[in-house]
Amino acid sequence: MRSVIVRKAIKLVSSALIMSGILFSYVATGTEKEVATLRDTTKIAEQKEPNIIPKVINKDIRQGRNYPMQPPVIPHTIRSYEVNQYNNKCMSCHSRQLTEESQAPMVSVTHYMNRDGNFLAEISPRRYFCNQCHVPQLDAKPLVGNTFIDMHSLMKQKTSQDNQE
């Protein structure tokens, strides 16, 4: 019984490996022309003029999601904000007890839960480093387009279509 499972697993893994290999080679050749690296087509021996460094968007206006379940992006600069073993500068505005004064968006309740779903008094260690998921945005032209439409808009479109029919 056990050996059957093992054999099945080996089969599955090997086929997945082959598939990913095919997919990878397709992606590699497919995107080569569309998206260049930072070096563009500069020759190996030459040094490329660096691109202008874009500015951080600092408008304090919340932005929509760019893909499903995207962690909200930071709409302000975070230069020299310390998040280390001693301090978390983000939490000096976004923590639950300080949002009234700061009027900043409150950190969601999931960030206070440990992996077993128990609620902690302080932000959970696994959610402590905000920049792992939340990042500020640069005022730069996107390298690739995005046609993402969130589920809510899709549902709305569908119901309006259904109503017309």
Binding site: N58, K59, D60, H76, S80, E82, Y86, N87, S92, L98
Partner: protein, 195 residues
């Protein structure tokens, strides 16, 4: 000993029998210039960044941290050196601070913060001294460069403009209340107001 003191006192209290009054007055005047000038020059030497970072405690910890901040490098090239923020500019206050600093010489001799670990252990205490000083003088050293009267709120981000035109304008808060750790890393901020 008592005899020696008496001879000294007798010499000082009796009139000069050899030098003319003019020589003594002019000589005293010139000597005064030299001593006073020398004193002030020496004082100014201790008021430079080179002097501060001639100790490794300052160079390897706080100076390295300052290097990454906007007070070290920025678009216009104006920069703050150590004494700009840490030594009062007014003469009497400066002398008072310099007298306080004699305790820091003592700490240097004993090696109180001569390793990174020791420095980290003392960071909260050292930071609290500076917070207290800036709180007491209404962030005077910040205001030597950042003048509230000429702040353009429309050039600031919305959050900054709200705080500056509100709490700061009313005098409820001073610069250091919010802008802690702008030039050096913060200590453990547990229990500090607003953290």
């Amino acid at each position: 000993m008592k005899k020696l003191l008496k001879v000294g006192w007798d010499t000082l209290s009796s009139p000069s029998g050899y030098y003319s009054l003019g020589f003594l007055v002019l000589g005293g005047f010139v000597a005064g210039i030299i001593f006073w000038g020398g004193f002030n020059t020496a004082l100014e030497v201790t008021n430079t960044e080179e002097f501060c970072i001639s100790c490794h405690e300052m160079e390897n910890n706080v100076y390295e941290e300052l290097k990454t901040t906007i007070h070290f490098t920025n678009r216009s090239g104006v920069r703050a050196t150590c004494p700009d923020c840490h030594v009062p500019h007014k003469w009497t206050d400066k002398i008072a601070r310099k007298m306080q600093a004699s305790k820091e010489v003592w700490a240097k001799l004993w090696g109180t913060i001569n390793t990174r670990e020791k420095f980290q252990a003392h960071r909260r205490e050292l930071a609290e001294h500076e917070w207290a000083r800036l709180k007491a003088n209404d962030s005077l050293e910040c205001r030597n460069c950042h003048n509230f009267d000429f702040m353009d709120f429309t050039e600031q981000s919305q959050r900054a403009a709200k705080q500056h035109s509100g709490a700061l304008a009313k005098g409820e808060k001073t610069c250091i209340d919010c802008h802690k750790g702008i030039a050096h890393q913060l200590p453990d901020m547990k229990g500090v107001e607003g953290w």
